[in-house]
């Protein structure tokens, strides 16, 4: 399968196979009107299989959201057909409005316009907790 080269845009590479769609959804890429390609199960030397997302425009991208979904992802910014910047993502310390608290007793279910904020509380186990009710992110 051949997906064309992009001139100015973003390539999200080294996404764990199967997580591309989740990232697509969390980043709200369905709202873009430019070309976006989601490649699933691409061959990879290191990872055997990986997902890749190509966005045919340079947009503001939430690196924390990417780090939450999969901290191994590489973000490549392409300008004039060349690699302009490569960023390796780490687990973010805090994420805002990336996920929502699922605890029905949490104040976020009733308080208007309250941002949904989660803090990394255990890096090793990748545990995020709601800063209000301390429920684990699921």
């Amino acid at each position: 399968m051949i997906i064309g080269k992009i001139e100015d845009g973003i390539v999200l590479d080294h996404i764990k196979a199967g997580r591309g769609m989740e990232l697509y959804r969390i980043l709200g890429l369905d709202n873009l009107d430019c070309q976006v390609a989601l490649i699933k199960n691409a061959d990879s030397g290191k990872m055997r299989r990986k997902d890749i997302i190509k966005i045919d425009r340079i947009i503001d991208i939430d690196l924390d959201a990417i780090g939450y979904v999969d901290p191994g992802i590489t973000v490549n910014i392409i300008k004039g057909g060349e690699l302009a910047k490569r960023t390796h993502i780490d687990l973010p310390e805090e994420i805002t409005n990336v996920i929502h608290c699922k605890n029905p007793r949490c104040i976020t279910t009733t308080e208007q316009e309250l941002p949904h904020v989660f803090k990394l509380t255990d890096r090793e186990k990748r545990v995020y907790r709601c800063i209000y009710c301390e429920s684990k992110a699921k």
């Binding site: 007793r105 104040i107 308080e111 208007q112 709601c130 800063i131 209000y132 009710c133 301390e134």
Partner: protein, 304 residues
């Protein structure tokens, strides 16, 4: 500005300092009678809790201060749909300190982000109730003289019992403490608390369903009520509510030095026949609750 949202925000030194103040208040109440003159405490109770509210109000009155507030959401602007943030900003214009209780977990955290005055969490759903834990700690310190080396039995609802979770976390910071968790299988201590608090500190604990078996080892027995309001399913509540009832005969093998605590209110989990046993300390605990809240108000208002 300082708030009290979670007991674990306080260092053990800060807790010791408040316990010392509370003991001094008990010994010399007259010296504190005007410490908060012309200060106002707002008690914002978005869900009813008569005993906690009265404890805060009595504490402020005994410090010579005044109290304003509401005792249920229906009599507040929350009934009109006002947000917690807006209520707190408004009340901050009238009061010097706020004690709030709210059915939603994390509401006091939202409040303190917007507040211009200190916030005390007087209970947020099944989440935190730090002034109850301070009350428990003051009672343990007054009864035992120390925290280190105690064996504490928690009995009843250990799954939803926030007072259990908070006291366990607070006590886990002292040396050689051992916990015995006594509950039906359905109401066992949540795994995450063992993983987050007990295991990293290598704290010794035992889980059992047998109260009498655990009894001879205990220095403290912390009884809890199975709370109807924490269940989504009425059938589950009815099935589990009478799991453990403490009666005088179950205390046969207990130490003479045992202290029996309960955050109250009780339903039937401690027989009234136990009330006259010198080891029953739960009404002392209520009294201590007022004194430690006085100490807390003084600390947050930075009154010397």
């Amino acid at each position: 500005m300082k708030h009290l949202i979670d007991i674990m925000q306080l260092t053990t030194e800060e807790i010791d300092e408040m316990i010392d103040t509370a003991n001094d208040i008990i010994a010399n109440p007259d010296q504190y009678a005007e410490k908060c003159k012309r200060k106002k405490l707002a008690t914002l109770f978005f869900e009813p809790s008569t005993r906690t509210r009265l404890s805060f109000e009595a504490a402020m009155y005994e410090l010579g201060g005044n109290v304003l507030g509401f005792s249920e959401a229906q009599s507040s602007s929350a009934a009109k749909g006002e947000s917690v943030s807006d209520t707190i900003r408004t009340v901050g214009a009238y009061a010097d300190i706020i004690a709030m209780r709210h059915p939603k977990e994390g509401a006091p955290m939202v409040a303190c982000r917007r507040s211009t005055v200190p916030i005390i969490n007087a209970g947020d759903g099944g989440h935190n109730h730090p002034t109850q834990t301070l009350t428990d700690l003051l009672t343990i310190k007054r009864e035992k003289g120390h925290f280190d080396g105690l064996t504490i039995g928690f009995c009843g609802d250990l799954k939803f019992g926030r007072t259990v979770h908070s006291l366990m976390a607070a006590m886990s910071r002292y040396d050689n403490v051992k916990f015995i968790f006594i509950s039906p299988d359905e109401l066992r201590l949540p795994e995450y608390l063992k993983e987050d608090i007990l295991d990293p500190k290598n704290i010794e604990y035992v889980e059992t369903t047998d109260l009498e078996d655990a009894m001879p080892q205990l220095d403290i027995l912390y009884m809890t009520r199975v709370q109807r309001e924490r269940f989504f399913n009425e059938q589950d509540y009815i099935r589990l509510k009478d799991s453990y009832i403490l009666t005088p005969d179950k205390l046969a093998d207990a130490k003479d030095s045992l202290s029996i605590l309960h955050p109250l209110p009780r339903v039937n989990e401690i027989s009234t026949a136990v009330d006259d046993d010198p080891r029953a300390k739960y009404f002392e605990q209520v009294r201590n609750g007022k004194f430690i809240r006085m100490a807390l108000i003084l600390k947050l208002l930075e009154v010397k």
